[in-house]
Structure formats: structure tokens, C-alpha cells
Amino acid sequence: MGAYLVRRFGLMLLTLFGISVIIFTLLRIVPGNIVDILFDTAGMVDPAEKARIAADLGLDGTIVQQYVNWISGIAQGNLGFSYVSEKPVVEEIAPRVPITVKLALMALGFTIIFGVPLGVISAVRQNSAIDYTLRIISLSGLSLPAFWLALLILMAFVAWFDTIPIYTGRPASLGEELALLAIPAAAVGFRSSSLVMRLTRSAMLEVLRQDYIRTARAKGATRQSVNYRHALRNALLPVVTVLGIEAAFLIGGLIVTETVFNIPGVARFLVEAIRSRDYPIVQNLVMLIAIVVVVVNFIVDMLYAALDPRIKYSD
């Protein structure tokens, strides 16, 4: 197992290195940079000044030089400065992370609370009316664009409750903040809970067909105990795996949802930073997301290996 771990870890680092190169190169082939934007917000100004600003921002070196500067900066714990706010990148990103993490965890909570039990019900009652209803609901969950759902929710809130659940300033307490995040989290979580519901259902059905379940039934175990003690436990395995992948998908949903609900989290920040060509923010933020995704997948793999005796560590 030790060797396998080391190997997986090595691959992980390799992947992250590749991402850093790709994102860095992509950003620099994007037409226009921050200097253009600064000039744009100032209406046209003296083109001779452009070179000076580019030099100030370290944008005048070759792309390789710039890359080396970035990576060696990271090695020294210096992520650079945001081009837009001129504050250290850490200061810009760090306060936004907890907001997005809270939102993502709440969405994941919704996913598990609704997805798993409804999936089980759907499987146990296969082909019943309730199964069909749940399947259609879960399919619509996968079909509604997250931002549309968010817009509809906002419309409904203003029309019926005369209030709007958007962020217009730091909430006074944690409770207030969670209440504010609950609605966007539900909007994001709808999609993932639909996915988990479908997966749980098919995994359950698969397991229910297996021999040992039949054996358990033959031995006279009650239906309830078969369903929940034997089948569910085994069915959860693939669900755990997918939850890992879904964590990456959640980020996509978070981008649009944070935009609609005006939540100052990292997901929306990324879009804004791409727009304003704030390279230091985009680079480091994308790396952060990639690290989270890669690490989550790594953990899920380990969990999977630990849970499923059939997997060997030799790969």
C-alpha cells in the first residue's frame, strides 16, 4: 500500500504541474491584458505609458521568465499581488474561501440528505408511481440550468415575501449567514442531489440483484433489513466515488449561483478575475481549485480502496 500511495502522490504532483503550465499559457494567449483594461477605464491615454505599467506589473519578461517567477514565488510562499486591487493575492483569496466552502458544504449536505434516501426509495419501489415521479424530478434537476433556477427563486422571493435573499453586506452572525446561504445552496444542491438520487437508485438495484441478497432473503432476513443493512451499505460505495467527482461539478454550479445571489465567494471572483485579466488571482485560484479537486479525488480513491476489498494496490 505504501508504494501505491507514493505513486499516486507523485502522479498528483505531476497533474498539478501540468495544470499550472496550461493555465499560465492559456491566460497569456488571451487577447488583452490588465494594462489594456486600465487604459480602457481611463479612456485612451498615452500609449508610451503602457510599457511602463507592464514593466511595473512584471508583464514585460518572456512567458518562461514570468512562469518561473510565479512558481518560485509560490515556493517562497509569495503568491504575488492582485493587479486590480494591488493587495496580496492571499489577502484577496483567503477571506472568500470560507464563504464558498460553507456554500459548497451546505449544497453537499442537501445532496446527501435528499439524494440518498430518495434514491433508495426509488430503487426499493422500482417501477411504481413514486419511482417514476422521483425519476422525473431527478431528471429535471439535471436539466434545469442552475442560474435559471436561481433567478426564479429570486423572483418568487420578491413577489411573495417582499425580501431578497442576496448578499448586500457581511451578515451579523453565523446563523444569519447560514440562513442567507441556504437558498443558493439549495439551488446548487438540486442538481447534485438529483445525480446522487439516480446513482443510489441504480447502485441499489444492482446490489439487490446480487446473489448474496437473494441468499439473505432466502435465509429469512426481513425485507427491511435486507434493503438497508445489506444492500444500502454496498450500494453506497459507487455513490461515494461520484460524490468526489460531483465536488468538481459543484464548483461550476457555484459560479453562476454566486453571480445571481451576489455572494462574494471564490467562484464568482474567478469569473471577475478572468474578465479583468487579473492573472495572479486567476492562476492561483485555478490552482487552488485544481488542488481541491485532485486531493478530493485522491481521498475518494483511497476510501474506495479501503472499502472495496476487490481493489488491489498494485493498480
Binding site: L139, S143, I255, L270, A290
Partner: protein, 297 residues
């Protein structure tokens, strides 16, 4: 094989399923949700193809007096702030959505198949390298990757298709690669090798057809997510630019601003996106059941 499973389903249904209609009817009865999906998809495809025939207003023509007009007998879905007929825009929008969905799926699958086949068949350092590249692509969420690509390529129809197709590559490549690996071990490939067929011919003649079923399942699943991603990109202003009637674009700032005075601007494009994705999902489910019984639910 795609054909065989489908045949076997029919065989199980017995001799009653005669002729094309009989088969279709049988499948429709067996997969009611899938049929609904197929009907929805057919509806949108026909609407997209016949857009010129079933609309009577130019989707791009602006018209001051009709600004934010409510739905009526002439303007079925009302008009947007520039007085453009929303019904025409939705119908023409089907072209854009389907073009992006199908285009990016085909492009993504083609690239994925190429990478997957090469990687599975050639193995060795090439496989290792490709696997790492696929790892890299999968480590970034679809929308994040598409966002960066869309920004890099600039907003246009082709670029949106490319931006969305790229994140699809690794999942296709993965499936093709593992199928290729599994099939390589099978007897008929060994036999082909024994009689001296070249590797590429074996790949083209034997391995590719055997991977069609999982590919179709994957492609239908991708179709829906490609359409959703296009809508999200356009919503964020990085997808299809004006004046193309993209559904996602229609839902962005302009519509949202008037969502209480003119709720139809928000409702109809949203329904269109949801319906078409719902259709692909239903159809995808049924195809998966039909073609890939191992995953049957």
C-alpha cells in the same frame, strides 16, 4: 455490440414485433420515458430545421413599438426590450443550442475516440502521457475550463463549440481506452492479429465498432451537459454573442432586468433550455438501458 443487444431485446419480445413500426412501437412501450425524450428531441430538431417555415418574424429585426410587448396571438411569446419576437428567437435559438450541443459533442467525442483508441491500443509512453493530460483536464471543473478557453478564444459560435468540446475529451477517452484494453484481450482480436492484420486495421475494423454502444450512451449524456454549459457561458457573457439568439444569452442581464414587467423573457428561454436538456437526458437513459444493460436501473 450495439446491434446484437437491440436485436436480443426484440427477440425477447417475441415474433409479435414485426416490421419497423412494430419494433418502434415495442420500444416505445418498453421505454415510455425514453420515447418522451425522443419526441422532445425530435420536436426541437424539426423546429431548428424548419425555423424559416414556422416563424413569421425576423428574429433579429428590432421594432420600437413592440418593446416588451406581452404574449399575444401574433407574438406568441411576447417581445424583448428591443421589440424582437421572442417566439422566433426561441425557435432560431434551437439552431444555436443544438449546433453547440451536437457540434461540441461530436468534436469532443472525435478527439476523445482518437486519444482513447491510440492510448489503449498503442499503450506504453504514449498512453502514460495521454493519461496524464486527461488527468489534468479532469482536474478542472467543466465550467472553469470552458470559461478559460472561452476567454482565450474570444466570443463566437465556433469558439464556444471548441471551448465546450475540450472538457468532454477526457471522459470519452477514458471509456474508449478501457474498452479498447478489454477488447484487445479478446479472442477475435488475437485471431485477427494471428492472420496478420495491421494494428490500425484491427482498431478500425474490430475495436471501434465494439465501442459504439458506450460511446452513444456517453454522447447523449454529454449533449445535455454541453447545452447547459453553453447556456451558462452565454449567461456569464462569455458564450455566443449578440445578435445570435442564444437561449442562455436571452436569460442574461437584459431579461433578468425586466423579469417582473416582462416575466416571459425569463420563463420561455428557461423552459426551452430545460426541455431540450430534459429530452436528451430521458433519451440518454433509455439508450443506456437499451445498449448497455450492465448499467440498467
Amino acid at each position: 455490440m450495439a446491434g446484437t443487444q437491440y436485436e436480443s431485446e426484440l427477440v425477447r419480445a417475441g415474433a409479435r414485433a414485426q416490421g419497423a413500426w412494430g419494433q418502434a412501437l415495442y420500444l416505445a412501450r418498453q421505454y415510455p420515458l425514453g420515447t418522451i425524450g425522443a419526441v422532445i428531441m425530435a420536436f426541437f430538431v424539426i423546429a431548428a430545421l424548419a425555423a424559416d417555415l414556422i416563424t413569421w418574424r425576423d428574429p433579429l429585426a428590432t421594432n420600437a413599438p413592440l418593446s416588451l410587448a406581452a404574449p399575444s396571438a401574433d407574438l406568441w411569446m411576447g417581445a424583448d426590450v428591443m421589440g424582437r419576437d421572442l417566439y422566433s428567437r426561441i425557435i432560431y435559438g434551437a439552431r444555436i443550442s443544438l449546433a453547440v450541443g451536437i457540434g461540441s459533442t461530436i468534436l469532443g467525442c472525435a478527439l476523445g475516440v482518437l486519444v482513447g483508441l491510440a492510448s489503449g491500443y498503442l499503450g506504453g509512453w504514449f498512453d502514460l502521457l495521454m493519461q496524464r493530460i486527461m488527468d489534468i483536464m479532469q482536474a478542472l471543473p467543466l465550467l472553469v475550463l470552458a470559461l478559460v478557453f472561452a476567454a482565450a478564444l474570444g466570443p463566437s459560435l465556433q469558439n464556444t463549440i471548441i471551448a465546450i468540446s475540450i472538457p468532454l475529451v477526457p471522459s470519452v477517452a477514458r471509456v474508449i481506452r478501457s474498452n479498447t484494453l478489454a477488447l484487445r484481450e479478446l479472442a477475435f482480436v488475437e485471431a485477427a492479429q494471428a492472420i496478420g492484420m495491421s494494428e490500425w486495421r484491427i482498431a478500425a475494423r474490430h475495436i471501434l465498432p465494439n465501442t459504439v454502444a458506450p460511446l452513444i450512451v456517453l454522447a447523449t449524456a454529454q449533449l445535455g451537459s454541453a447545452i447547459l454549459t453553453e447556456a451558462s457561458l452565454s449567461f456569464l457573457g462569455l458564450g455566443i454573442p449578440e445578435p445570435h439568439p442564444s437561449w442562455g444569452r436571452m436569460l442574461s442581464e437584459t431579461a433578468a432586468e425586466y423579469m417582473r414587467t416582462a416575466p416571459w423573457l425569463v420563463i420561455f428561454p428557461g423552459i426551452a433550455i430545460s426541455a431540450v436538456v430534459f429530452g436528451t437526458n430521458l433519451l440518454g437513459d433509455a439508450l443506456r438501458d437499451l445498449l448497455d444493460p450492465r448499467q440498467r436501473g
